[in-house]
Amino acid sequence: MPDFIKKLYGAPFAAAAWTWLFVSGLFAAPYFYLTGYKENELRNFLYFQGRIVQLAVFFASGFRKKIVKGKMPERSILVANHPCMYDTFIFFDFGVKNLVCIAKDWPFKIIFYGKFIEKAGYINSEGKTAEEIIGETRAALERGLNVAVFPEGTRSKVTGRFRSLAFEAAIRADCPVVPFAIKGLGEMLPRGSYCPKCVPVEYIQLEAVSPRDFQGELGAHNMAKHVKNMITEKLGEKK
């Protein structure tokens, strides 16, 4: 199928996803405002919004979306490679409702959605020290939440360097890290593009990694490398 046909097919689904985020936010905003932005309700609403976005991804992929689930620990740090701006929503396909993410400033500026994620306890890393981010991550984990992190920070086509911060938080909070490999979303919606291509996608949950296997001075560093290896191996990027 030629490239432009693939894009023509995907465009309505991207438009539907963004319209959905805006319109559902518009209707829900007065309720949350009047009820004082209750965290649990907001996270349930974000889960609902995310599942619908994932439905759009399913259609945009030409019904070729595959999800490989595993056993999910109760509270954990979820890490994945970061090929696409829709990555945040992949965890909802695994049924994770009590989720917060560590993100830079820009998602917090999206109308309605930004306010919801802020009030739901998502962690804005912009302008904060590593200690502050680790402190907020530990606090979220202690409240029984799962924390999603993209250790590459910025979206990339080929998996880049994994920062150790999330792994340091996992070691200090003594909670497992669950890696996820995201295949195909980078090709569907590459950086700088807003028009998705019709390509197959696959989300694969990998085996949880215990922080107890990574103690000592280089613990977080080694854990980051280990998890990155697991993901790149699954993606077929490993040389």
Partner: protein, 86 residues
């Protein structure tokens, strides 16, 4: 350890870990705007500098508040003086 040795070691360790361009590594270079690092990189910076100088930085953890490479050279120089095993 002289200041020149500290600068060389810091630059070598950071260039390797963060794949930085050695030409951009000047004392006035800002970590965020000139070198493209952010607060998420602070943990890795602490780890590589602890390894390179055999010193403890983790207990202070002020690295996130250091703005330029020159600030970092000064900070490491102070730590090396305080921790003579370096």
């Amino acid at each position: 350890m002289t200041r020149e040795e500290i600068i060389k070691t810091v630059n070598g360790a950071l260039a390797e870990e963060f794949e930085l361009d050695p030409a951009a590594m000047k004392p006035e270079a800002n970590f965020f705007t000139d070198l493209g690092l952010d607060s998420l990189d602070a943990v890795d910076m602490v780890i590589v500098l602890e390894q390179a100088f055999k010193i403890k930085i983790r207990t202070n953890y002020e690295v996130g508040k250091i703005i330029t490479l020159g600030d970092l050279y000064n900070y490491i120089e102070e730590l090396v003086k305080q921790q003579p095993n370096a």
